[in-house]
Amino acid sequence: MKTILLVDDELSVREVLKEMLNNKNYQVETAASGKQALIKLDKCPVDLVVTDIVMADENGIDLIMKMKTDYPHIPVVAISGGGGIEGRFNYLEIAKLVGAKEILKKPFSAHELREAVEAELKE
């Protein structure tokens, strides 16, 4: 069974995404910040990370950049409700620039999430 690490600072989002993925028989771990995610990555083997971008304690962009050095084999799906720098550089576009394999704009459907996750786990 593949293990997915879900990173989002909002509990309800973590819960609903976990539910969406549990239905597909993935082992789902969660973290409420980039910092927590790095601790989990250090402790247990993870096959894929799904991370939010705007989080108070170590944001998704920093997490992706650190993973690029320390866990280059783990693919990342970046998720965000929007926003960006100067209203021009979308966070998701930046996430892709720094290494996220897939990006999903919130709100997305269970189908979209599962499709993105499956595509990355297949590779």
Binding site: E15, V16, G81, G84, G87, K106
Partner: protein, 526 residues
């Protein structure tokens, strides 16, 4: 013994000297008697109002009355000056050529030795333009604030919607997996859940519209034919419009192409058509006009910028109810609508504001109550001739693209900053080289030392700092301008005056794109 005034005392100045001084004043000066009859005006008065001295002497200042102020206003003014006090304020007046202007005015009563008011002196200044600029700045600030606020709201809103929509999906899946639930109950729950889902989807669409208003979605534009596209949109719209609306089309031939996007243009024109149709409930005429226009002294009704120059103007006119003047400042604000009862969200024109400015265009509005309104979109155009097909336009745009001439070297150990600068500068058609540390930057620079027009370097980098890099580069080439970037304030980086002289400028991170580009453009232009 009484001291005689010296020749240099004002009392000894010839009267002509005072007249000359008053006539040389930039402000207009009017002297009236107690009955408010004009006795004298200076030269600036003619410049301000258009009336010469001989045209106004003996008349009352009321010849300038604009009709803007009510009787109460003048009553209060007269009350003040008749009681011997100075009145200061702003007043709309009318020039000889009938145009209205805003005056900043001080009226001072002149009293005799018995403290009786005998004359009035009015000093006037035209502040129309000053006020307009102030208004424009306030409006721009307001639109910017609303944009920032809506951007923040939409981001948070999307997070909430992710939970709402996600859970309704999970509930739907779970409900289908529950065989023990009676069919009727199950169907009712499925129906209710679907309603929550649908409401969530419409909220999602609303957030998308808000994002368009605050221009969070950057579009990619290319040269397109406005004539072909507008004709196509109108053909499509005609089929959907009620038969009570008569449609007229007047599109100038041989129009140049515009920098836009087909679907965006469709959205813009449809927003204007929908707006026009909404204002003609019992039918009317809708006229779509596209032509080249030389615009002078006009204002964009949504961003309040002053408009000057050649534009392609796309106007949609209706014969509807018109817009009350008090609604003009609110037209493009999110959620402003006069049709709330009819389920309008008030996002149509806000979306239009975002879309048209996204492509550096503007919008003007003219309206007369119960006669109709005209909304005009103004597009800047290139001098390319109109092209017959989109594909040809695209190919042509690629062929005519200017070569990237100016070369910039960006040095920063943070890849995010590098990618950001790449996005900004490549978008502005600069050739870009990047390095993640001082050594790499030096290597790139040494390969072609004369090739670079600008170096943008971070200060704090491992091994080599920005200052150290600048010192080495300046020994190779004194000419190349270097901008130092840092997360610290300029004053917090301890630089000697010699070190400071290495740099053309300093940019504090996080920087505003506008500030960065101003600095880059300044260098490139010199």
């Amino acid at each position: 013994m009484e001291r005689k005034p010296s020749k240099s005392s004002p009392e000894n100045f010839p009267l002509e000297l005072f007249f000359s001084a008053l006539n040389a004043a930039v402000d207009a000066i009017v002297i009236t008697d107690i009955d408010s009859r004009i006795l004298w005006v200076n030269n600036s008065f003619k410049e301000l109002t258009g009336y010469s001295y001989s045209e106004v002497v003996g008349k009352r200042p009321s010849i300038l009355k604009s009709g803007v102020h009510n009787d109460e206003f003048y009553k209060s003014l007269w009350g003040t000056i008749n009681s011997g006090k100075t009145w200061q304020g702003e007043m709309w007046n009318k020039k000889k050529n009938k145009s209205r202007y805003l005056e900043e005015q001080t009226i001072t009563p002149v009293k005799d030795e018995n403290d009786i008011v005998t004359h009035f002196i009015a000093i006037k200044r035209d502040v129309t333009e000053k006020k307009q600029i102030q208004k424009q700045l306030q409006h721009s600030q307001k639109m910017e604030d609303i944009g920032r606020m809506t951007g923040g709201i939409s981001h948070n809103f999307n997070n909430k919607l992710a939970s709402i929509l996600g859970y309704t999906e999970i509930i739907a899946e779970k409900l289908h997996e529950l065989p023990e639930l009676p069919a009727l109950q199950k169907n009712t729950l499925i129906k209710y859940n679907k309603r929550v889902f649908d409401a969530g989807i419409s909220a999602k669409q609303l957030v998308e519209q808000l994002k368009t208003f605050c221009r969070e979605k950057a579009g990619e534009f290319h040269q397109i034919s406005i004539k072909e596209n507008v004709h196509e949109i109108l053909t499509f719209a005609k089929a959907a419009l009620p038969s009570t609306i008569e449609i007229f089309e007047d599109i100038e031939n041989d129009l140049p192409s515009i920098e836009s996007d087909t679907s965006l243009l469709h959205q813009l024109v449809m927003a204007l058509i929908t707006n026009a149709v909404t204002s003609m409930k019992s039918g009317g005429k809708l006229t779509l006009n596209v032509s080249r226009q030389e615009i002078k002294n006009q204002y964009c009704n949504s961003c309040n910028s002053i408009l000057e120059g050649d534009y392609i103007q796309l106007s949609v006119s209706d014969t509807g109810i018109g817009i009350p003047p008090e609604n003009f400042p609110k037209l493009f604000l999110p959620f402003f609508t006069t049709n709330q009862m009819e389920g309008k969200t008030g996002m149509g024109l806000s979306v239009l504001h975002g879309l048209i400015h996204e492509q550096h265009g503007h919008v003007t509005v003219k309206s007369e109550l119960n006669k109709g309104s005209t909304f005009s979109l103004l597009f800047r155009y290139s001098n390319n001739v109109d092209l017959s097909s989109e594909k040809q336009n695209k190919d042509n745009a690629e062929l005519t693209e200017e070569p990237a001439e100016k070369h910039i070297l960006v040095v920063d150990d943070n890849p995010v900053v590098i990618e950001l600068l790449r996005s900004i500068l490549v978008n502005e058609k600069y050739k870009l080289s990047t390095a993640i540390n001082g050594q790499e930057a030096l290597k790139i620079f040494m390969d072609e030392p004369t090739d670079f027009n600008l170096i943008l370097t971070d200060q704090t980098m491992p091994e080599f700092t920005g200052v150290e890099l600048a010192k080495v580069i300046k020994t190779i080439s004194k000419e190349v301008p270097i901008i130092l970037m840092s997360g610290y304030k300029e004053s917090d980086i301890e630089l000697t005056s010699e070190e400071r002289s290495l740099f053309y400028g300093f940019i504090e991170k996080p920087f505003k794109i506008k500030d960065l580009m101003n600095c880059v453009l300044e260098i490139m232009e010199t």
